[in-house]
């Protein structure tokens, strides 16, 4: 029995290295000067193999990359804000009125297919749609597209959390004389609190990481940190250290969100 346990631990450690290795490499690259990036033997230990510099991060701070990060932040936040309230109402409908028209399982399934739509199949028509309205390369176009695509995910998550609240609590509030809006504001949202926060975080994260739409709907004016990356590969000299820096900065929000909402994230996938 002990041997199996040892092998098990070894397996976990190997998998841990498999995950952490590339992340470590990214962080190391972001601290390198452009010439130190690739060399034989590989320079992997800061202070030992190379002098870490903040060169890449300074580049990010002083060029449009910073602007790209702020755009990502703004667009993701705006789209999440637009999507959350309507999704909350819809999730309430799907959770409480399973038999009513537009709230039954079939409509929920249709919403699910929206969440599964492949971006590559719809990016062209959306591109043409915004051109139609002369809104190509504008914030509104990207934010609205993002909110449309975040609604299915938001509703799916919120419905999961809302199913966790016993119906009797709501009916008790009904008996206490509270109207629907008051019940939502005073009882469902506070009790659902962590669930809503986790949903907002996860939907925001989904948009923070989006690439294809940002690439095609944005242009010179609207550019997110993900759609900026290809521009660092123009010509022969790929700015690897800046790519590393952007990768590190882009990875901070997911880490924070996973730390804060670990319980809710596990609970969301529990139901499925």
């Amino acid at each position: 029995m002990r041997v199996i346990r040892m092998l098990g631990y070894l397996g976990l450690i190997i998998y841990g290295l498999f995950i952490l290795g590339p992340l470590y490499v990214m962080i190391v690259t972001s601290l390198k000067n452009i010439n130190d990036v690739f060399s034989i033997p590989p320079k992997l230990l800061p202070f030992v193999d190379f002098q870490p510099t903040m060169e890449a991060f300074e580049f990010v701070a002083n060029t449009r990359v910073l602007y790209a990060f702020l755009t990502s932040l703004g667009v993701a936040t705006a789209a999440t804000a637009i999507a959350v309230i309507p999704s909350l109402l819809a999730a309430y409908g799907f959770s409480r009125y399973k038999k009513a028209a537009m709230n039954d399982e079939r409509s929920f399934f249709i919403l699910l297919t929206l969440r599964m739509t492949p971006p590559f199949a719809v990016v062209l028509p959306i591109f043409l749609y915004w051109n139609l309205f002369k809104l190509y390369d504008t914030y509104f176009a990207l934010v609205w597209t993002y909110s449309v695509f975040s609604v299915p995910l938001a509703v799916w998550l919120l419905k999961g959390f809302m199913d966790g609240i016993p119906l009797s609590i709501e009916e008790a509030a009904k008996l206490d004389g509270y109207t629907f809006m008051e019940r939502l504001r005073k009882f469902i949202i506070p009790v659902l609190g962590p669930g809503i926060a986790a949903t907002i975080a996860l939907v925001w994260l989904f948009l923070w990481n989006e690439f294809l739409f940002a690439l095609k709907l944005g242009g010179s004016n609207v550019i997110t940190y993900t759609s900026y990356l290809p521009q660092l590969r123009v010509g022969q000299r790929i700015m690897w250290n800046v790519l590393g820096a952007i990768g590190v900065l882009g990875a901070i929000p997911p880490l924070i969100i996973f730390l804060i909402f670990r319980k809710q994230i596990i609970r969301v996938y529990l139901g499925r």
């Binding site: 009916e171 008790a172 008996l175 609190g193």
Partner: protein, 364 residues
Amino acid sequence: MPKIRLVNINKKYEGLHLLKNVNLEIPNNTLFVILGPPRSGKTALGRILAGLELPDSGSIFFDDEDVTYKGPNQRNVSLVFQDFALYPHLTAYDNIASSLLKSRLTKEEIRKRVKEFAEYLKIDHRLTHYPSELSGGEKQRVAIARALVRGAQIIILDEPFVRLDYKVREDMRAQLYRLHRDLGVTVIILSSDHMDAMAFPDNIAFMLEGEIIQVGNLDAMYEQPTNLSIAKYLGLVEMNVFPAKSILDLKGTEIPRSLSMLDGTMLIGFRPEHVTLHYENTLKPDKIILAGKVKITEIVGSETIVHLDAGLLEPVKVLISMIVRKTPGEAVRVAVDVKDIYVFDAKGKFVGRGGDLIGGDIAR
């Protein structure tokens, strides 16, 4: 306090006929128990009375006002849920006060009123705690306080004791009785526990598969049950029921003449507490004497239940109101007075008691 009248209430849910033409009258200011096995439609009836659901058909009158389509607040009715349904994010105080925040009372008036009810229900020392920190009994009391504080005239409790410890139930039943007596509030208990019927014996409606099959006080249901399921449901120990034929054909038993002319297909039932140990010298004309061997004995507090194997389908259960030591296998003779027995037809409909049999009302 309004007199409640339910007229021809029907309710279907997903093909299940939950309530079949329910008619019930609940006099004002009573403590009313709606008793019945689980899934007999009690909760559905409670929810319709509270206004949480609308009946498919039929109407509800409070005194002579039709409140069928009025919401819970216009009816001044409150429901205490089986899982108490306390707001997890609010303290006990806020839970109780939640229904008053909607009224015009000032903050001070609310505080006084909540304090008053909390003290009455002996929960005032736990007001700052959250529901998760309260015990079952305490949660129940907060839920009741919340229902009463807004002046509801009718309070419905759905299986109020199911989640409580055995000993806490006894205390909570006393609380409910005191509450009804002091506040003059109509209390309706939906319960599947016959002990609740025993604790509140005056007004009981028995529900079975969505129908009210008997209304009255416990003694009436105990003495004259309308069908076999009520007879079996009421009683500390379930009633012994055997096909008449199996008793009549039993060898080694004395069958009084009055019983022998009974129709064979009928069922004879007799309660364990009506069975007495029989000793040779006390011959009585109208007694069924059964002989058998003791299977097991159970001692309950100061009473003993003896399971007797008397050659019938199932063991005969005997309840003796003192502690009696009977070893398994011991031969015992027991007697049942004919006037105590219950007679049901093959389908379980109550036909009459032993007394009617002797009087010749139940013919072959």
